[in-house]
Symmetry: C2
Subunit: 330 residues, 2 copies
């Protein structure tokens, strides 16, 4: 375990002073150094396998090139591609991701934010946003979900268009008794999709009966199952708050002895990995997971570079993917 080389080692190998080496190594200031010496330094760095000590750099510059990424649970299949997109986006700018899971627990989220801030994190990407979250004091971008506060940058999907196209499809097949197993209303995704459902039904001249809308307490298969079991009013189709809730609907239908899609059609939201391989294949609204993460990373980098820039809200387009889970009503 020999200790890693410092900038001084590089400098002495290149026969220059440490300050010169620093200037040569940093792309920002490379112009202040002659090309010849710059190359010598770069080469010396390479042969020594030099990597700058970020602790020292952080101490000096007050930036860490690290972003905190906080999500509810990596095991929810929507998040891996998003996180992967974030990581690739951060990588483009030499940033890395410090990852944390909250399990939806606000306390744990606070804890994580504090711990990450203590580690000099330059900014945050949160996939945990609740609608009522306060505006943050460090550069922050919300992804997938957003808060009601208007001044926080966010990357979300066009929930409205997605739900409209789902209702449209079902209506065009002849469904009129359409139910909604909605997601949690404390999260923007659940809330927006529910609002969109009401609007879309209305604009198709379809009634939203009270018993035909239930609310899952979480975006999980289990909660979706309970929400689906609570549905009343003899629906012929269910629009679920997301894909996991839709899988819960599958279970509930099976338990009730109903067949999907013959008795009841089901539509999900997200097109999570393997949605196409469910039984039956899940009709769902595809969101661009990876691109969301990528875009969120870029937004954050922009925000870090210039914190006073106005807060963009990026809304990415979605696409309805029809699979075996929908059919005309009996």
């Amino acid at each position: 375990m020999e200790k890693p080389p410092t900038i001084k080692d590089v400098a002495s190998l290149a026969k220059v002073h440490a300050a010169t080496a620093s200037r040569a190594l940093n792309p920002q200031t490379r112009g202040k150094v002659s090309t010849r010496t710059a190359n010598r330094v770069l080469e010396a760095a390479k042969t020594l396998g030099y990597a700058p000590n970020s602790a020292a750099r952080m101490l000096r510059t007050k930036t860490s090139s690290v972003a905190g990424v906080i999500i509810p649970d990596l095991r929810n299949p929507v998040f891996p591609p998003i996180v992967r997109g974030i990581e690739d986006g951060l990588h483009e700018a030499g940033y890395m991701a410090l990852l944390g899971n909250t399990d939806g627990d606000e306390e744990r989220e606070r804890e994580l934010l504090l711990a990450m801030r203590g580690r000099q994190t330059d900014g945050f990407i949160l996939a945990t946003g609740r609608r009522t979250d306060p505006a943050p004091t460090v550069p922050t971008v919300l992804v997938n979900r957003r808060s009601d506060a208007g001044d926080v940058p966010s990357v979300t999907n066009d929930n409205n268009a997605g739900i409209f196209s789902a209702v449209e499809l079902l209506a065009s097949l002849g469904h009129t008794r359409i139910g909604h197993a909605a997601g949690p209303q404390g999260l923007s995704t659940g809330w927006e999709r529910y609002r969109a459902f009401v609007d879309a039904m209305d604009s198709h001249g379809l009634a939203v009966e009270p018993g035909r809308v239930t609310f899952a307490t979480a975006f999980t298969e289990e909660a979706g199952y309970r929400a689906a079991m609570a549905l009343q009013g003899d629906v012929t189709a269910i629009i679920a708050g997301n894909d996991l809730i839709a899988l819960g609907c599958y279970s509930a239908l099976a338990e009730r002895g109903l067949c999907c899609p013959d008795d009841v059609s089901v539509v999900g939201f997200n097109d999570m990995p393997f949605a196409d391989r469910q039984r039956p294949g899940l009709t769902t609204v595809r969101i661009p997971h990876y691109e969301m993460g990528l875009e969120a990373a870029r937004l954050l980098l922009e925000r870090i570079a210039n914190p006073t820039t106005p807060a963009k809200r990026v809304i990415l387009p979605v696409e309805l993917v029809r699979r075996g889970s929908v059919a005309p009503p009996r």
Copy 2:
């Protein structure tokens, strides 16, 4: 955005020297300070909302309480639960995870290792280990895969037992022409499972015909499809190198107009999320994903605390899960 208080601010408020404040603040060294002054310092810290600057601490102590976690691709469904386990394990000791994906590219892996080491990462957990990787110079634990070098701690599954039980099941159903769509042989998982397949077939008195074993170039559905298409010798059952390869087998069988399990049985490995919801449900060897990550984190923390400790190799038990993808041969 006024600048955060430093230890000097705390010290002057408590009317002590910065060094004393440091000793009082650090639980390790608190004993070297009188209880009275310690309390005064602690209180001062609290009223100022003092949080230590981790950059300075890192620079001084050369530790960061951060571990680098490097995996091939987060979108491969085996990794999210592993990473989640790692994160929880690290969290227990106040550590956090810096995450990086390599896409199986050695160059990118080197780059990531370097960049992370520059960020003072205390150690690494690698899920990318190739069999021929050299022994690392910083505390490192391999998870899921391991290298041939004996002195690197690792957490893996009992690949041997898993494959044996798969062969056992198929043999007991009457299969004799069993094929193997193996994983890449440069990775310990692919290699060990292939070796185990040969051994298990042998100990059941079954022949391993050359055409009945093919090798996927990667642990992906696509590569599995190609490996399955290359299989010859009229097999009635296929043991796949992992679940994604097994899904590739599903596609290949469908393309050949064969039905699983009526014409050909398929067994996977990993029991990745949603393996039970495939069509047909995938018979597979369940590995304890989350626990692997948890155990890897603990091993790493142990290793960091005491680098000279002998390198443990933890092998976790597996369990065959029978689902719809296997049946007796026609």
